[in-house]
């Protein structure tokens, strides 16, 4: 490691001294592995290469220095991480470094992802101190902070500066705020850029016979959909159930179906609540969103009502549909020949389709749903060391290095991961998809990252699912969900939830804030 650091430094000095062309510099930095993560950023920086390197490397180095100090004084030489099953692949590559250079053993406690939130709440009462670092999704932070099980990380972030909001290599806004802050304070450090984007089959789009037939029918070029209406038309055009090929694979299954609704709702310029915490999804827009979904049911894969994330990815990878709405891991699946035999090399990805508000404004809105991050347990014996781990793992450099490892859920979340990617990131995703991720992420609306978030989500999910299965009419289902929402808000305390909601709404992308009226909320 030391030798590599020296070589990086030597290369930077040589480049600063004018002894290397930009191309040679990038090539040499690329060959140095981790350095390639930021080589491009360094090369185009107005600062000198050494200075630019130091700044982008800063969060990693500051975290490592803290880790060294904290590790030296730690009585317990083990750092225990509560992580969701299936996520370990992004962490294991660094186990030896922590052991060899810091003397710290990383111990992973894997739990099914659906019980991570519960395990955290359980620790709030059990106070065992068994966990040091915990890896929940952004929705857990409010309840975990309020129950006192995790630290507010703000003081540490101010001191050690993970550069969360740096415009060149910070976490992409607004996920930087929605998936890390609770009431404006840092609750966790994001390590997984979970947002949903739309995948299409490129080979079908490039089929000349299909292109002609589509143009004849719809009077426009066959291309990835720009709006939900176009999405519907494409699905109907490509739907070929006789040959086991379906228009789309979007979810209608319990637990997943709410996200399909929420995504459509926000695309219509409507949020889940107004500025006074009154549910707004049972409005005309919400009913329209459900009706759109009901209409789409005709062109969905027959397993849509039972899809989990993995069975959905598998079906798309096997070539059973034209479109799919997936997390970035779905793209990775579809791109890899082993899991996407029919889709490898055949995917065209795009941002989530736009829709129109009542006044005709076109809105592009994405949904940032799920998204793991690191939190520090209040009952940890080594909280500073735990924080250092979180900052180090999510630094621009280590983050870029960790994401492409297989066997983990981590997806790009910092600007440099998408706009200044390493070769490994490019190989894992693709330049086009990384750009799509960035374009989509800047317009994302958060999940229910509020106190009681899982309860809101569950209430909505059940009613949307009831509507999709035909047991409730759209308006009836949404009114019922709204009623449940009001009860949850009342029980938790309106002022408390409102404060958190307004804090989230304050950090929406400007067009969405304007379209939803959130820019006027006080």
């Amino acid at each position: 490691m030391k030798t590599k650091d020296n070589m990086v430094e030597k290369t930077l000095k040589e480049y600063d001294a004018g002894g290397l062309t930009r191309r040679s510099f990038l090539k040499r930095m690329g060959a140095l592995g981790v350095a390639a993560a930021v080589a491009n950023a360094v090369a185009i920086s107005p600062l000198g290469a050494l200075e630019a390197w130091a700044s982008i490397q800063g969060p990693e180095e500051r975290a490592w220095e803290l880790a060294k100090v904290a590790a030296a004084k730690a009585k317990k030489k083990t750092l225990t991480l509560l992580i969701p099953t299936g996520s370990i692949g992004n962490m294991t590559p660094y186990v030896d470094k922590w052991k060899n250079e810091l003397g710290i053993t990383l111990e992973f406690i894997e739990e099914p992802d659906e019980v991570i939130h519960t395990k955290g709440m359980q620790e709030a009462v059990a106070k065992t101190g068994r966990y040091d670092v915990m890896m929940p999704t952004a929705m857990s932070y409010p309840d975990w902070i309020d129950s006192g099980v995790i630290y507010d990380l703000t003081d540490w972030t101010e001191k050690y500066d993970p550069e969360l909001f740096n415009k060149d290599y910070g976490v992409v806004f607004p996920a930087s705020h929605h998936a890390q802050l609770y009431n404006g304070r840092v609750a966790g450090l994001l390590n997984d850029g979970d947002q949903i984007t739309l995948l299409c089959r490129k080979d079908y789009l490039e089929d000349s016979a299909k292109a002609k037939a589509f143009e004849d029918k719809f009077g426009r070029k066959l291309a990835v959909p720009d709006t939900w209406k176009e999405y519907y038309e494409l699905a109907s055009f490509m739907h070929d159930p006789a040959n086991g090929f379906y228009g789309s694979l979007e979810y209608r299954s319990p637990y997943y179906v709410k996200w399909m609704f929420m995504q459509r709702l926000v695309s219509k310029g409507m949020l889940y609540f107004d500025g006074e915490m009154n549910p707004t999804f049972n409005s005309d827009e919400g009913v329209e969103a459900l009706e759109d979904m009901l209409a789409m049911n005709e062109f969905l894969h027959p397993d849509a009502f039972s899809f989990t994330w993995s069975s959905n990815y598998n079906a798309f990878g096997r070539g059973e549909g034209f479109m799919n709405i997936v997390w970035p891991s779905g793209f990775k699946y579809s791109k890899a020949p082993s899991t996407g035999p029919a889709t490898t090399g055949n995917i065209a990805a795009t941002v989530m389709p736009a829709d129109y508000t009542k006044d005709g404004t076109k809105i592009y809105a994405g949904l940032f749903c799920w998204g793991y991050g690191y939190a520090v347990s209040k009952y940890s014996e080594n909280p500073e060391l735990s924080y250092a781990y979180a900052q180090w793992m999510t630094s621009p450099t280590i983050g870029a290095d960790a994401i492409p490892y297989l066997g983990g859920y981590s997806d790009p979340y910092r600007v440099n991961h998408m706009l200044k990617p390493t070769k490994r990131l490019l190989d894992t995703y693709s330049p086009e998809y990384l750009q799509t991720l960035y374009d989509n992420m800047v317009n994302t609306v958060p999940d229910f990252c509020l106190p009681g978030g899982f309860e809101y989500q569950d209430a909505l999910d059940k009613e949307v699912h009831a509507c999709m299965t035909g047991s409730k009419k759209p308006k009836e289902a949404l009114d019922r969900a709204a009623h449940k929402f009001e009860r949850i808000t009342r029980r938790i305390g309106k002022d408390k939830v409102k404060k958190s909601w307004l804090s989230l709404a304050k950090n929406l992308a400007e067009p969405i804030k304007k379209a939803t009226g959130a820019d006027q909320w006080k």
Partner: protein, 286 residues
């Protein structure tokens, strides 16, 4: 014994019932020997064309699936298998032994109060989820969380009402006079029960043991909630077979399920002669 031939309708109904009962077993067995490409295939693959033992291998060598490009399994199932065996055998033994003496006590020396069944079975009237969290707090405070001692204690607490009540019905069926005869012959109360009562209800004892064993062997909620790293059991391990590269590892889950079935099948086979009466809580008199 006279055997009565089934009518054609009865045969058909029996056939359908057997298919329904055995289909999950068949599916688990087939999935356990399917390669990853077949786990989730559409249309479903009923019998794998290239059966493999890789799923069983993966249980003990997490890298075994690597040859199919599937990684991300981080822990072998060894600890979970041993954990299940340890917790289940000890908890079942304790539950049945304590239940047996409770049953004899209630049946032979109890006041026959109408509230006895309610008191005994009240522990089973709460959903496990409702009592799990309070136990987390209690066990945390007394240092029993994430320990086999704690897990066994809760398994015994949860199954004891069943074992007591089942065994009580068998003791109730046994004429007191037989035990009294043994006492007249000079045996103490304890010896009379050990040498007379217990041998005479051994069918019920087997059935109860089997029943409690199944309950403990398949218990999920308490094992999940009360465990961190020291304690692991098969049902909890089953829920952990999810990876980022292949989603749910159905084949590996099925392989572990097959392993989990083996002790039950063996024990069930050995004591099947006692099961018919035992499983009906002694309602069928021999």
């Amino acid at each position: 014994m006279m055997t009565k031939k089934l009518s054609p309708l009865q045969t058909v109904i029996m056939g359908i019932a057997l298919i329904l009962v055995l289909f999950p077993v068949f599916w688990i067995l087939m999935t356990a020997i399917k390669p990853p490409t077949d786990w989730n295939a559409s249309p479903a693959i009923w019998v794998p064309s290239e059966p493999t033992l890789v799923n069983f291998q993966t249980l003990f060598d997490p890298d075994a699936l690597g040859k199919y490009g599937v990684g991300g399994v981080s822990q072998p199932a060894t600890k979970a298998v041993f954990g299940s065996i340890l917790a289940t055998f000890i908890a079942t033994t304790l539950s049945v032994v304590i239940g047996l003496f409770s049953a004899i006590g209630i049946s032979r020396y109890g006041n026959n109060s109408k509230s006895t069944p309610l008191i005994i079975l009240s522990g089973r009237m709460f959903p496990p989820a409702a009592i799990a969290v309070p136990f987390v707090i209690i066990f945390s405070n007394i240092g029993l969380i994430d320990s086999y001692t704690g897990l066994i204690a809760i398994y015994v607490a949860v199954t004891l009402p069943f074992s007591t009540w089942m065994l009580k019905s068998f003791v109730d069926d046994l004429p007191r006079e037989i035990e009294e005869a043994a006492m007249i012959d000079g045996r103490s109360k304890l010896m009379a029960h050990l040498t007379v009562t217990i041998p005479l209800i051994k069918g019920g004892l087997f059935a109860t043991t089997m029943f409690i064993f199944i309950l403990n062997w398949s218990e999920f909620m308490f094992a999940l909630v009360l465990s961190y790293t020291n304690v692991s059991t098969i049902p909890v391990q089953l829920a952990k077979y999810v990876t980022a590269t292949a989603g749910t590892l159905y084949g590996v889950q099925a392989a572990l399920a097959v392993l989990a079935m083996i002790p039950l099948v063996i024990v069930g086979y050995l004591i099947q002669g006692h099961l018919a009466r035992g499983m009906t809580f002694g309602a069928i008199k021999q």
